[in-house]
Symmetry: C2
Subunit: 307 residues, 2 copies
């Protein structure tokens, strides 16, 4: 039950009120693969430059993540730099250098394209469509996107949405993509073109999952000290898909469990820079937070006695 | 187990994308009393002007709400006017005319001050302190406030916070009051000065309740067509306190139930202008939405099996 993740491997320079780190390993494929790999084997596809030394490949190997689909090219690796102020929900992007990723033309090993689970991390919809064309073995695919593609490749994005099983995006993206402030209406609009599941990430407000006949809302884990929110959304995606894949069936139970797992893993992600905290998370850490989240959400479905 | 509610009775002129209503009955005491009164007897204290005709008193009487504490004065009733755009989460206040409420000096009937439950709706903290001085029978008090008082009467507001059992405010108010973007940190700061419960209302993102040893997050009920959000917060407050009071004990179970009831009643409130929808809500309507909300929130506290 392996997962194929296609996305960026990047270097991030991040400054928050808690400090600054320079050129740490980041990118959507990095964060999501670390999370998903807790549950099932992960194969990563992406592209890196000459500055992506062997020590970074070793990092993935140490975790047992397959990087045979990661191409190396002349030039520099994708680079992102951001600044977070007092409010970790607001960030300023200081630099986005696409570098070698601009010429990314995925060539996937045979066993990659047979992976039953596929996460198309945030990248151009036309690239996502190309990957979908290649991946004949996919049984459950999830696509992430961002405002940039909603504006610049809207048609290709809707075409890609018509071909995936699930969509993951944040609340402002959902509103922008569907032209409505109402998140339920936005979810229904996406469901109407094909996907069976829409997951709307709301940061500190948790996440909402909507299908034709089910809905699920999970609050964010109440993290008291958010050190670096970078990668939280990708960690959520990886935790979600990794858990679902580990359950062997995509159904109400596994999808709800995936929402919880994504939420809990994202809460670890934000507690330190890069993938630092998530790298050494263990089963009892996760179990503890699942229990906290459960106590946070639980209530009895009382029958109200009116006067 | 009666509740005393002190707040505004007002006329509201509201325009949304769904239409416009002029001078409909509104105000914090109106919305919260209609909701609380579903569960326990409610006594309202406030002040109205000469334009507040007998038909409005009849409205409260018809619901069995005690209005002996509502003073009548020369002049006009509190008036508010607001405009909502495509996004119902954003509104523009066109007019706030305090009118007779500026001289509100509560004189409470003897049986009012013996009410075990007290809701101090949004008004000046010095007025809230005066009411707290009078109400000798209070066993559980909740205070609401707004950005205006956080800025103009900050000291009096903290003094009032030191004297109530619970505080209800929205997320932006909590951040402003406590000078932190982190809602958990904000809640802890308020808890540290005395209250046992802090409830942070997050509109479409639901509500969060924090105590020293418990937390509870309830998602908003997924309303697909929000016609008029005015009064949703006060309806939440009334539903919360009404349910808690009806349970005869302030404990984890009743507080969680109150969060759910407040959430569900607020979801009815926003579906029509003013108190129109809430006025004819019945037990099976409420029960249905509680069940939906329960299915929305429920998940099994799985023990993750890591690779």
């Amino acid at each position: 039950m392996s997962i194929l993740i296609v996305g960026t491997l990047a270097f991030d320079t991040i400054e928050t009120v808690w400090g600054k780190v320079e050129r740490v390993l980041g990118g959507s494929a990095t964060h999501s693969s670390i999370a998903a790999n807790l549950f099932v084997p992960v194969k990563v596809a992406g592209i890196v430059g000459e500055d992506f030394g062997e020590e970074y490949f070793d990092f993935f190997r140490r975790h047992g993540i397959d990087t045979r689909g990661v191409a190396r090219a002349k030039g520099k690796t994708f680079f992102w730099s951001g600044l977070y102020g007092e409010n970790p929900n607001e960030r300023e992007t200081l630099a986005t250098e696409v570098n070698v990723f601009a010429d990314f033309n995925p060539v996937l090993p045979d066993d990659y394209i047979g992976s039953p689970y596929l996460f198309l991390a945030n990248m151009s919809p036309s690239l996502q469509l190309r990957v979908l064309d290649m991946c004949k073995g996919t049984r459950f695919s999830i696509l992430d996107t961002m405002n940039y593609w909603i504006e610049s490749e809207n048609d290709a994005l809707w075409e890609a949405l018509r071909r995936v099983d699930a969509v993951l995006l944040n609340d402002s993206e959902a509103r922008q993509l569907c032209g409505t402030p109402n998140l339920m209406e936005a979810a229904r609009k996406i469901l109407s073109v094909h996907p069976k599941v829409v997951i709307i990430k709301k940061g500190e407000h948790g996440a909402l999952m909507v299908g034709d006949n089910f809905q699920c809302a999970v609050p964010a884990f109440p993290v008291e000290r958010v050190k670096d929110p970078t990668g939280a959304g990708d960690t959520f995606a990886g935790g979600f898909l990794g858990y679902v894949a580990s359950q062997g069936a995509v159904d109400d139970r596994s999808l709800r469990g995936g929402m919880v797992m994504g939420t809990v893993l994202a809460s670890f992600c934000v507690e330190d820079f890069g993938v630092k905290r998530l790298e050494d998370v263990n089963r009892s850490d996760i179990k503890f937070r699942i229990d906290v989240l459960h106590r946070l959400s639980v209530f009895e479905p009382v029958d109200p006695k009116l006067r």
